[in-house]
Symmetry: C2
Subunit: 331 residues, 2 copies
């Protein structure tokens, strides 16, 4: 299948899941020390992943959990970040300047910083209090850390059972989802490769996916224009400029905000002729119980959008790795 | 001047400022009771105002302050909202269904809800713990409440002096800003009335303005397509699809995140031929000290965008009060 190395992909996820003992050691130690709050800090795509982790934790947690945009934190500060703050960051390159500055500031204020840094020999790798080095799978790493906190808080009694299933079945289940989504991905890419503007709408743990898919994939990698909006917000502005032929795609997951996306889908069914619903429920995840699916909706959605990306790149001939500006010119 | 009744506008702001004793009574009582956290709750435009209030408070406060989207809160809940939560909402109609459901839920969880409800005889007016009824000026009402908390926290020693200036000079200063912005507003409206897509970028207390100006004004009222993005995030995706002729407008205010907007402006200066910077610093606010200007940047920006709106409506002939869907069809 186009740009899908099944074995490599399965091993990548399996390796990420195998980080769990390392993550548990980190979170367990933080729990024992005592924490005042948990801050997920990022920028761009990593910030989007932070939004997902926060939404996921808020489903159950009464801990003070929040996200911070690295550049905003550096500019404005945040007096909640300090002694007792457990901060989580992630970086592929380990060299994002806004995050470096933010981590420096947060540590100066007394926060403890755990970094998922893909590259061992990088500025961020040596700046964080502790790091876990493994490529890709950012969202999975974040959710493993989040879930360990939920476990300690006593609001995730299924932790062991759920991860036993994920360890055994998730790597293959996600690859199967990619394969199942391939025809859709090609047809979607073909229908929308010339869109002048495409709207993405999503909610819950998929809002971050909606935001980053529009901005980090279509805008940054495909050079295609998008607007992304939360499903809840769709009805407070965007609905008025949806014409019959406006391309809109709704991401629907299986967490508590599923109904917000379904509402958008119903509206579009009545008023649009150019909309798409991507519903994670349409993808079977063999071996994974119904009740554990909400915790991986965002990974299923990523599997589906991977297929769109592969075909878009093939059809447009636009290499997703090319940048005009990002890390190429000074600004 | 086109659609500007100077006296009416001045009196509207003066009347809003005169609510301050009522707001102080509310906040003082909450402070005496003791608060665990402060939650600004809204949806659409009111949620955007919540984001502004939170950013403003974070400049100085170490209280737990956060915003909540009404529909998300209803769907997912938030265990931080409960006994000891001081919640602030605002509603023009007093009948926004998502907010009604959210207030009902929050009060059920033990939160105390202060409502700025423009319409006395409305569902929300009778649902909140206490209400302050006065039309328009939502952002000013929110900031007065926020600032009273900062005053009690001991991080706004200038509170009395600053509001003495606002009481005396702000109403006229904002009208003068509108008048000063009129030529710009007309020329901007003329240049961009046919834009297929317009990008708005902003940071700090103006990010909410950026978001709501794109969504609630251009999309909902003018039926024109926009994307709005935080200045910090511009460099993590959007920059790649900015061609020379892509219409981009940067909102720059005078708070701690000013530099984030200036960075975007510098980038656009180098790479774009179709960008506009609206900088609140360009507007004199007679009688208001330099040091107090950051606290009203968002109101200055609103004064400027009012002029764009007035001319856009005139030039396009599209009545801003017409809706196709919002509150007109079921969804």
């Amino acid at each position: 299948m186009l740009k899908l190395d099944e074995r490599k992909q399965t091993e990548s996820v399996r390796g990420a899941l195998a980080l769990r003992p390392l993550i548990e050691t980190e979170v367990d130690a933080a729990w024992d020390r005592g924490i005042k709050n948990i801050c997920w800090l990022g920028i761009g795509g990593t910030w989007a992943s932070c939004l997902q982790a926060v939404t996921h934790m808020k489903e159950r947690s009464s801990l003070e959990v929040f996200s911070a945009n690295a550049a905003e934190y550096v500019a404005t500060g945040d007096r909640r970040i300090g002694e007792g703050t457990f901060m989580v960051i992630s970086s592929v390159t380990g060299s994002t300047t806004e995050v470096i500055d933010a981590v420096y500031k947060a540590r100066g204020a007394g926060a403890y910083v755990l970094g998922f840094i893909d590259k061992e020999d990088s500025p961020l790798a040596s700046l964080v209090d502790s790091r876990i080095t493994y490529p890709a799978n950012e969202q999975l790493k974040f959710f493993m850390a989040a879930d360990r906190f939920l476990y300690h808080e006593g609001v995730m009694p299924e932790y062991e059972d759920m991860y036993a299933q994920f360890d055994e079945y998730l790597p293959e289940a996600l690859v199967e989802a990619e394969k199942a989504a391939d025809d859709f991905g090609e047809s979607f890419a073909r229908s929308h490769m010339d869109d002048k503007l495409h709207y993405f709408v999503g909610a819950g743990t998929l809002y971050g996916a909606t935001y980053s898919y529009g901005m980090c994939y279509w805008e940054e990698m495909h050079w295609m224009r998008t607007k992304s909006i939360h499903s809840a917000e769709f009805f407070h502005g965007m609905l008025e400029i949806v014409d019959e032929d406006t391309p809109v795609t709704v991401f629907i997951g299986e967490d508590s905000q599923r109904a917000l996306g379904e509402r958008v889908a119903r509206f579009l069914e009545a008023h649009s002729k150019n909309y798409t619903v991507i519903d994670t429920k349409d993808y079977t995840l063999p071996g994974i119980d119904e009740m554990y699916r909400p915790a991986v909706s965002h990974l299923v959605m990523h599997a589906v959008t991977n297929r769109i990306d592969a075909h878009l790149e093939e059809l447009t001939g636009h290499d997703m790795t090319v940048r005009r500006f990002y890390r190429k010119v000074d600004y």
